[in-house]
C-alpha cells in the first residue's frame, strides 16, 4: 500500500524545529520595520482602486461604442467593480485559485 510506503518514508525524516535564536532575530528585524499608519494602509487600498476606475472610465470614454448617459456609465462601472472583486476573491484565496495556479506553474 502506498499509505504504508509514505509512513515508512516519513518515519525516517526528522521533524525540525525553529532555531533557538528565532525570536531574537525576528525582534531585531521588526525594530527596523516601519508599521504603516492607518492612513497609509487606506491609501494603499484606495489609490490602486481609483487608478483602475479612472483608467476604465478613460477607456470607456475613448471607445464608447454606444452613447450612454452618465448614470448608465456609472452602472456599468459599478458592475465591473463587483464582478472584478468577486473574481479576485475567488481566484486569490479559494481552492479554485490554487488549482489554477498549480495548473499554470506545473
Amino acid at each position: 500500500m502506498i499509505h504504508d510506503e509514505l509512513v515508512r518514508h516519513f518515519r525516517t525524516q526528522p521533524q525540525p524545529s525553529l532555531s533557538a535564536d528565532f525570536a531574537a532575530n525576528l525582534r531585531r528585524r521588526l525594530q527596523f520595520t516601519r508599521r504603516p499608519r492607518p492612513l497609509d494602509a487606506a491609501l494603499g487600498r484606495w489609490v490602486p482602486r481609483l487608478y483602475w476606475l479612472g483608467a476604465a472610465a478613460l477607456g470607456a470614454a475613448y471607445w464608447q461604442p454606444v452613447s450612454l448617459t452618465t448614470f448608465q456609465v456609472a452602472l456599468v462601472a459599478a458592475a465591473v467593480v463587483v464582478v472584478g472583486q468577486t473574481l479576485r476573491r475567488a481566484l486569490r484565496a479559494g481552492p479554485l485559485g490554487r488549482v489554477l495556479r498549480d495548473a499554470i506553474w506545473r
Binding site: M1, I2, H3, D4, E5, L6, V7, H9, F10, T12, Q13, P14, Q15, P16, S17, L18, S19, F22, A23, N25, L26, R27, R29, L30, T33, R34, R35, P36, P38, A41, G44, R45, A93, G94, P95, R98, V99, R101, D102, W105, R106
Partner: protein
C-alpha cells in the same frame, strides 16, 4: 467567509489599536510552529533553514499588514494563507537550487535498499503539484489530521481528502514506473 469566534481577536486588536508589541509577540509565540510546519510542508524535508527564513518574512509581513486584516476570517486562517503563499513564492524563486537534488535526511539510519526506495519516494513527491505535496507532508510527515490541515490551508476537509487521494494515486503510478513495487 463568515467571521467566527477568534481567540486571537483581542491580541490583534491590542496590537492594531494600541500598538502593544507584547500582543504581537504573543501572536508570534502562539502560531510560529504552525507557520513553520506550513512552510516546511511546501519546501520539503531538509529545508528547515529556508523554512525559517520564510517564517521570519511572514511575521514581518504580518507586522506591516495587520492593520489591513478585516476580520472576515479567523486570524490563523489569514496568517497560514500568507505563510503558504510566501513559501510557494520562495520555492519558485529558488526552484533550481531547491530541486537540484532530492533531499533525504538520516540516510545513515537506512539500509542501502531503503535509501534507494526512499530516494524514489522523495523524487515522486517532488513531482506532485504544490497543494498535493504540501498536504502529504502535513499528513504523513507532521501527523496532522484532515481537519487540522483544512484549518491550516483554509480549505474544506473534503478538498484535503481529495488532494490526498490524488497524491497517493499519482505516487503509486510514479513508483510503479520506477519499478518500486509495494510488495518488494
Amino acid at each position: 467567509m463568515t467571521a467566527t469566534t477568534d481567540e486571537d481577536a483581542d491580541l490583534v486588536a491590542g496590537f492594531v489599536d494600541s500598538g502593544r508589541m507584547a500582543d504581537f509577540e504573543l501572536l508570534v509565540a502562539r502560531h510560529r510552529d504552525a507557520v513553520f510546519r506550513v512552510a516546511l510542508a511546501v519546501l520539503g524535508p531538509g529545508r528547515a533553514r529556508y523554512a525559517e527564513d520564510v517564517v521570519q518574512e511572514v511575521f514581518v509581513d504580518v507586522y506591516r499588514k495587520l492593520s489591513t486584516f478585516e476580520g472576515r476570517s479567523r486570524f490563523s486562517t489569514w496568517l497560514y494563507r500568507i505563510a503558504y503563499n510566501r513559501a510557494v513564492d520562495y520555492r519558485r524563486s529558488m526552484r533550481l537550487e531547491l530541486e537540484r537534488d532530492v533531499v533525504i535526511e538520516a540516510v545513515d539510519q537506512l539500509a542501502p535498499a531503503d535509501v534507494l526506495r526512499s530516494r524514489a519516494v522523495a523524487d515522486c513527491l517532488s513531482r506532485l503539484p504544490e497543494t498535493q505535496r504540501a498536504v502529504v507532508h502535513l499528513h504523513y510527515w507532521f501527523g496532522e489530521t484532515v481537519l487540522e490541515i483544512s484549518a491550516a490551508l483554509g480549505v474544506q476537509p473534503g478538498t484535503v481528502k481529495a488532494w490526498l487521494f490524488r497524491a497517493r494515486h499519482a505516487l503509486a503510478r510514479c513508483l510503479a514506473a520506477k519499478g518500486v513495487g509495494h510488495d518488494s
